[in-house]
C-alpha cells in the first residue's frame, strides 16, 4: 500500500470536471485508489461520492493506492493531483 497527502490549491476543488477526470483516470489503473477527507473515505472511481466529499480549496486529502502496479499508479495520481487540483 502506498499513500500521499495533498492540499487542494485550485479554487474549485474536487468538483465537476476535476472529479470526472479523476474517475476516468482511476478507471484506467489496475490499482484501487481511495481518497480520504476527514473521516470519510471513498473510491476514486466513484463520481458522486467523490463530489459529495466536498473537498474544496485548502482541504487536505489522503490518497491511498493498493494492489496492481502501485508505483505506477502512485506516480500517475501524484501527477494528476499536482496538475488538476
Amino acid at each position: 500500500m502506498k499513500e500521499f497527502t495533498y492540499t487542494i490549491t485550485r479554487p474549485n476543488g474536487l468538483h465537476g470536471r476535476p472529479a470526472a477526470d479523476l474517475v476516468t483516470a482511476a478507471q484506467t489503473l489496475d490499482s484501487t485508489v481511495t481518497i480520504r477527507k476527514g473521516d470519510r473515505c471513498v473510491g476514486a472511481d466513484r463520481l458522486m461520492a467523490l463530489m459529495t466529499l466536498g473537498a474544496v480549496q485548502g482541504d487536505t486529502v489522503t490518497v491511498t493506492i493498493e494492489g496492481g502496479d502501485e508505483e505506477k499508479a502512485l506516480a500517475h495520481m501524484r501527477a494528476y493531483f499536482a496538475e488538476h487540483l
Binding site: 463520481l47 459529495t52 474544496v56
Partner: protein
C-alpha cells in the same frame, strides 16, 4: 364535431391529429414486474439514457466546444456511478418498480448535494435530477414521444417546457392540452413559438390521425370539419400564413422609419428558452428578461450555479445582442411559496421589487453574482424593478460592486454589466433626471406606471375601460422620464404593454423613446410597423 376549450395562443391549424402518450406522473403507480424483469428493464433504460447523453455530448462538442460538452460528460459518468446504480438496484430488488427506484435514488443523491456547503456543489443537485429524469424518460418511452413523421396537431394531457423546446417547429401545427395554465412556462413558450394552442380538452386516443381544425382565437377544435366551417378556417390560415411571410424580411437588421431613424425593437422574455426564439424573430436584444420563473411554483430559489447557467443560456442564444436581466420582481401579488416577508393589506404598495431585494439581500446577492458570472458569455445588463428613490439605486449598485469584488477575490471571472432602472412608479418618472445620474439606462414599465399613476388595479375587472395606459398623465410621466434620461445621455427603452400598442408607436417615438421591447411574437410586426412611420414633420 366541435369541441370548445380555452384559447391560449391565437392562430389556425389544419391537419391530422397526433395524440401523445401520457408522460410519467408522479405518484401514479407503475405496475412493477418481478424484480428480475424490472432489473432488466432498468438496465435497458439506463443504456438508452446513456446513448442519449452521449448524443448530446457529441452534438455539444461539435456546436459549442469542449467546455459545453463537459456537463454531458458528467451526466454520462453519473449514469455509470456505482453508488447510484447500487442504490437503484437495491430498491428494485426490494420490489419497487424501475421508475420509482430511479426517482427516489435521484432525490436522495440530489439532497446530498444540496446539503453541502459549497454553492457550486449544491448546483450539481440539478444534474443529478436531470440524469434521473433522462433515465425515467428512457424507461417510459417519453423520449420518443415527440418524434414526428409528418406535421400534426399535437394533443396531450400536458406538455413540458423541455418538450416544447425540442419540437421541430415545422412538424407541429398546433397544440391541444388538457392542462396548461395561461401563465405557465409551457404556455409562454407556445406563444413565443406562435403555436395555435387550446387548453382544457381531454385528448382521446381514437382522435389519432383524424383530420382536424384548431381555432386558437376561439378555443374551438373541429374534428372532421366540412363545408363552410372548413372553408372559413382554411381561408384564415392562408391569410395568416401570407401575413407571416410578408414579415420575413424584417427578421434581420434594425427597424428604420421612412425618414431614416433607426429604432431598436427588442423582445420581452420570461424563460431562457425564449431567447433563441427572440433571436430568430429578429429581436435586436432582450429588453426585459423577467426572472420570476426562477422561483414561482418552486420550493426554493435556484442557487448561484444554476442561475448562472440559465442566464448564460439566454446570453449565448442572443449571440452578443444585449440581454437586460431584471432582478426578481416578487412580493406584492407575485408571491412564491417560500417567501415569508410582508403580507400587507395593500400588496401592490408593499415590500416588492427592489425594496424586497434590498431587504432580503442573501437572495439578491445570489442573483447579482450569477448575472456577473454569466456576463462574459454575451452582452449583459441588469435592471432593478420598482425603484422610487435615488438611494435604492445607489444601494443596489453598491451591492453589485461588492459582489464583483468578492468574485474577483475568489478568482471567478466576471463580465461588464450595464445597470438600468425601471421607471414604473410616478416617483421614478418625476425624479428621472436624478436617477439618470446613477443609471446607465432606463426602461419604462408602462403596466405598473399606469396602475400607480391612475391608482387603478389593472387586474380589477370592474375598472375595464377606465384603466388606460394612454391617459395624458401617464404620457406626461413617460415624457419626463425620456427627457430626464436624455439630459444625461442615457438610453430610454419602454418595455410595457404600451410598446406593442401600434396606435401609440408614433407618439412614443416622437417623445424620444429609443427602444421598444415587446413580447417575442410581436417583434416582427412592430418592426414592420415602425418602417411605415415618418417622423420628419
Amino acid at each position: 364535431m366541435k369541441l370548445m376549450g380555452k384559447s391560449l395562443c391565437p392562430g389556425v391549424a389544419l391537419g391530422p391529429i397526433h395524440v401523445l402518450p401520457e408522460t410519467e406522473k408522479r405518484g401514479k403507480p407503475t405496475p412493477a414486474g418481478t424484480p428480475e424483469q424490472e432489473l432488466e428493464r432498468l438496465e435497458w433504460g439506463r443504456q438508452r439514457a446513456l446513448d442519449r447523453v452521449r448524443g448530446q455530448q457529441s452534438a455539444a462538442l461539435e456546436k459549442l466546444g469542449e467546455g459545453e460538452a463537459d456537463i454531458f460528460r458528467l451526466h454520462a459518468l453519473m449514469l455509470e456511478d456505482r453508488d447510484l446504480l447500487e442504490t437503484v438496484r437495491c430498491a428494485v430488488r426490494a420490489g419497487a418498480c424501475a421508475e420509482d427506484s430511479v426517482r427516489e435514488a435521484g432525490e436522495t443523491f440530489a439532497a446530498a448535494f444540496r446539503a453541502l456547503n459549497d454553492p457550486y456543489l449544491q448546483g450539481r443537485a440539478a444534474d443529478v435530477e436531470e440524469v434521473s429524469r433522462l433515465w425515467r424518460e428512457a424507461l417510459s418511452g417519453a423520449a420518443e414521444r415527440l418524434e414526428l413523421d409528418a406535421p400534426a396537431i399535437l394533443c396531450a394531457g400536458e406538455f413540458s417546457p423541455g418538450e416544447l423546446i425540442a419540437l421541430e417547429r415545422e412538424k407541429v401545427l398546433g397544440l391541444v392540452a388538457q392542462r396548461m395554465a395561461p401563465d405557465s412556462h409551457a404556455a409562454i413558450l407556445a406563444r413565443a413559438m406562435a403555436l395555435p394552442t387550446v387548453a382544457g380538452l381531454v385528448p382521446q386516443t381514437h382522435w389519432e390521425g383524424t383530420f382536424a381544425a384548431l381555432d386558437g382565437e376561439t378555443g374551438a377544435l373541429y374534428l372532421d370539419p366540412e363545408g363552410e366551417t372548413l372553408d372559413g378556417l382554411t381561408e384564415r390560415a392562408r391569410a395568416r400564413q401570407e401575413a407571416a411571410e410578408s414579415l420575413g424580411c424584417f427578421r434581420t437588421g434594425s427597424a428604420v422609419t421612412r425618414d431614416g431613424r433607426s429604432v431598436s425593437v427588442c423582445a420581452n422574455i420570461a424563460a431562457p428558452e425564449e431567447a433563441a426564439l427572440a433571436w430568430k424573430e429578429g429581436a435586436q436584444g432582450v429588453g426585459l428578461f423577467r426572472t420570476e420563473f426562477l422561483c414561482l411554483d418552486k420550493k426554493q430559489c435556484p442557487g448561484e450555479e444554476e442561475q448562472t447557467a440559465l442566464y448564460r443560456r439566454a446570453l449565448e442564444a442572443m449571440e452578443g445582442r444585449r440581454v437586460v436581466i431584471r432582478t426578481l420582481d416578487i412580493g406584492g401579488d407575485k408571491r412564491p411559496p417560500w417567501l415569508e416577508a410582508g403580507k400587507g393589506e395593500n400588496p401592490a404598495l408593499g415590500l416588492r421589487g427592489i425594496r424586497l431585494s434590498l431587504k432580503k439581500t442573501e437572495l439578491f446577492r445570489i442573483q447579482l453574482r450569477a448575472i456577473l458570472r454569466a456576463a462574459p458569455y454575451g452582452t449583459a445588463a441588469v435592471m432593478f424593478p420598482m425603484v422610487s428613490s435615488v438611494e435604492e439605486v445607489r444601494a443596489a449598485r453598491a451591492l453589485l460592486e461588492q459582489c464583483r469584488e468578492e468574485l474577483e477575490m475568489q478568482d471567478i471571472p466576471t463580465g461588464e454589466v450595464e445597470v438600468g432602472v425601471m421607471i414604473e412608479t410616478p416617483a421614478a418618472a418625476l425624479i428621472a433626471e436624478d436617477l439618470a445620474r446613477e443609471a446607465d439606462f432606463f426602461s419604462i414599465g408602462t403596466n405598473d406606471l399606469t396602475q400607480y399613476t391612475l391608482a387603478m388595479d389593472r387586474q380589477d375587472p370592474d375598472l375595464e375601460g377606465m384603466y388606460h395606459p394612454c391617459h395624458p398623465a401617464v404620457l406626461e410621466l413617460i415624457r419626463r422620464a425620456v427627457e430626464g434620461g436624455h439630459r444625461h445621455g442615457r438610453r430610454v427603452a419602454l418595455c410595457g404593454q404600451l410598446g406593442a400598442e401600434r396606435s401609440m408607436t408614433e407618439t412614443l417615438l416622437r417623445m424620444g423613446v429609443d427602444e421598444l421591447s415587446v413580447p417575442v411574437g410581436e417583434v416582427l410586426g412592430l418592426k414592420a410597423h415602425v418602417s411605415t412611420l415618418d417622423l420628419s414633420n
